[in-house]
């Protein structure tokens, strides 16, 4: 990647915006509104991550091939998520023993 290709990016300005977003993510939960906390904490985390990837990692001007590489990682993650979610989130059925509900699994200490 050449200097000319991203020489116009004002990195200090991007950093300043990231810090403002950090402050908002800290102030949001103080209002104790669950939906607002969700947006300010996790929504802003996504925005910050996208900004770092786009401007600091120059993904905004990177070749498409790199996007395919990253998408392959994300697809693998989604497969993992789908496999795990059914195991973690669904705990009913004939063969399940919910030791948490009955407090019989002290060693797990959930």
């Amino acid at each position: 990647m050449t200097a000319e290709s991203h020489g116009h990016t004002n990195y200090v300005k991007i950093w300043g915006i990231l810090l403002v977003l950090l402050v908002i993510s800290l102030v949001g939960p103080e209002l104790e509104i669950p939906v607002l906390t969700l947006i300010t904490a996790f929504g802003i985390a996504v925005v910050k991550a996208v900004m770092v990837a786009a401007y600091f990692m120059h993904l905004n001007i990177e070749k498409k091939y790199i996007w395919y590489v990253l998408i392959s990682g994300i697809v693998a993650l989604l497969v993992l998520f789908a496999g795990l979610s059914s195991d973690i989130m669904v705990d009913d059925g004939a063969n399940w023993q919910d030791c948490i509900a009955t407090s019989s699994c002290v060693e797990q200490r959930l």
Partner: protein, 192 residues
């Protein structure tokens, strides 16, 4: 004695330098590693609301300070990259070491946090929340240490004006480590 470079570092078939492509592949695999941890945490957290009580014992101030430190370190390493592209090796060397310094600050804050938490009884064995906490932040800290070591090694070649492309490569890795923390921060320190 000098050796010729491996052929993989001297050719490119995608239009992307091989080193940069390799780092992106590393990042893609790291997405699965850290993403897997975060995914498990999210699912368990949704399932067991009591985890919120455990998360109340982490220090938001320390987490916020470390977020500031890593964001600033990302700025420094991208400035080192920009300087390397202009062949300003002195400036690039300086910013690489600023980044290493910020990595050191991050680890000191993390060590302080760990010490405080452990002395209050919040060890890795206390509950599954704390197991996740120490596994995720510990693995992340190992990545920070790895990045600092690599930066220290390449910095001296950079100072001599050699292998300047490596500044961009370690920068990509370092920004990814920053992004991981950007997600760990709300998960472990804000959502209580």
């Amino acid at each position: 004695m000098s050796f010729p470079k491996p052929i993989a570092t001297t050719r490119e078939v995608t239009g992307i330098p091989t080193g940069r492509l390799a780092v992106w592949w590393v990042i893609a695999s790291e997405i699965v590693i850290f993403g897997g941890l975060v995914t498990c945490y999210l699912l368990m957290r949704l399932k067991h609301v009591s985890w919120g009580d455990e998360a109340a014992n982490t220090s938001t101030a320390a987490g916020a300070l470390n977020t500031f430190v890593l964001l600033t370190s990302s700025l420094f390493i991208v400035l080192a990259h920009a300087a390397a592209e202009k062949r300003d090796t002195v400036k690039s060397f300086k910013f690489i070491w600023y980044t290493i310094g910020m990595g050191g600050v991050f680890l000191v804050v993390k060590a302080y946090e760990y010490t405080t938490e452990i002395t209050h009884g919040y060890t890795i064995f206390k509950s599954v929340f704390w197991s996740f906490y120490y596994t995720a932040t510990g693995l992340h800290a190992l990545h920070v240490i790895g990045g600092m070591v690599i930066m220290a090694i390449i910095s001296f070649d950079v100072k001599k004006g050699k292998e300047l492309q490596r500044v961009e490569l370690i920068g990509l890795y370092w920004h990814f480590v920053d992004i991981v923390w950007i997600f760990l921060f709300p998960l472990l320190y804000i959502a209580k």
